[in-house]
């Protein structure tokens, strides 16, 4: 089963690569919103690939179903969290703009 083992290793390595890219994006991207893109998308696929690799090595159907469930819930919560963080950042930026305007117009 060398073939399956190496396929699994390849998937897990690729998944780790996407996690790395997501983290680099998180550090390099210019603002909160762009950073959220890196987190939701790259990490989602990274986890999918790691789960795929683990599923190839899994001993039972139950394990595979559990891996799918893990991926599903993580991706769902990542999308929801990104939405909430973005909403909060928008409200924050709007508030910051308002205070900046009042400071400038003060005599």
């Amino acid at each position: 089963m060398i073939l399956i083992d190496s396929l699994a290793a390849l998937a897990i390595l690729a998944g780790a690569g996407f996690f790395m890219a997501g983290t680099i994006g998180l550090l390099r991207f210019p603002d909160t919103f762009c950073r959220l893109h890196a987190l939701t998308k790259a990490d989602g696929l990274g986890l999918a690939l790691i789960c795929l690799g683990a599923a190839l090595l899994a001993g039972s159907a139950g394990e595979i179903v559990r891996l799918v469930l893990i991926w599903l819930f993580v991706v769902l919560s990542a999308a929801t969290c990104a939405h909430l963080v973005a909403r909060h950042a928008r409200a924050d930026a709007a508030a910051a703009r308002n205070t900046a305007v009042t400071k400038e117009t003060r005599p």
Binding site: G25, C34, K41, L45, A79, A86, A89
Partner: protein, 230 residues
């Protein structure tokens, strides 16, 4: 259509003073991005949910929802514990509690999913999420990050509830877009690259979500996303 879709009208990002110079340049450029005109995307019809069947009483509907919630939590428990007989002492109360909580905390929305459209959506979505992740990874690793970020509005026509939430979550997993807010009748989308035709991409996704929830007029099912929305 153009009036409904104001591209890059409001770049409510991190305050620009906090950004490095090059990024500040980019984030300012996003106010007035180059890009195609979006006045051409044709709207496709979305029909409302089918009316409730009048023969089914309110009590029956509630019982059916409770039964679904219990079925889902039972399935989850069996998968997580591998259905060992000694796990049932904890399992039966836990299943009942989770099922009742799920029933009590989720609003009663009615929606149905078209199975064939769901399969088609799953395949398309898997491919798109690979493209989305590769796209963002490429931008993150490039020496000169290729970004033209900004916001745009997309007017929502999908019905309230599950279809809208599903649409907003799917936007976040698609290449280059992130749903930032559901506000009134539209979703505010952050795009990594406003030079792309974000509006057409969202229209294509909206069409697919409408097909998934069986909200397209019947004759339209065999076609492809309206006009240039593919």
């Amino acid at each position: 259509m153009n009036a409904m879709y104001r591209k890059g009208h409001d770049h409510a990002g991190t305050t620009t003073a906090q950004l490095p110079v090059r990024a500040r340049e980019r984030s300012l450029r996003a106010f007035d991005p180059p890009g195609p005109d979006h006045g051409t995307t044709p709207a496709f019809p979305i029909r409302p949910f089918l009316p409730r069947s009048p023969r089914e009483s309110a009590l029956r509907r509630r019982l059916r929802r409770l039964a679904w919630a219990l079925a889902v939590t039972t399935g989850l428990w069996l998968v997580l514990t591998e259905a060992g007989p000694d796990s049932l002492a904890f399992g039966i109360p836990a299943i009942a509690l989770a099922g009742v909580l799920a029933f009590a905390t989720t609003p009663a929305t009615r929606w149905r999913i078209a199975p064939l459209a769901a399969l088609r959506f799953a395949g398309w979505f898997a491919l798109q999420s690979v493209l989305g992740a590769s796209d963002v990874a490429r931008r993150a690793l490039a020496l000169r990050m290729d970004l033209a970020p900004g916001f745009c509005d997309y007017p929502l026509r999908l019905p309230q509830g599950a279809p809208r939430v599903f649409f907003a979550n799917a936007i976040s997993l698609l290449p280059g877009t992130l749903s930032a807010e559901l506000e009134g009748g539209s979703v505010i989308v952050h795009s990594l690259d406003l030079r792309r035709d974000t509006h057409a991409e969202l229209a294509g996704l909206e069409w697919r979500v409408a097909a998934l929830f069986d909200l397209l007029p019947r004759a339209d099912h065999a076609g492809s996303p309206a006009g240039g929305a593919a």
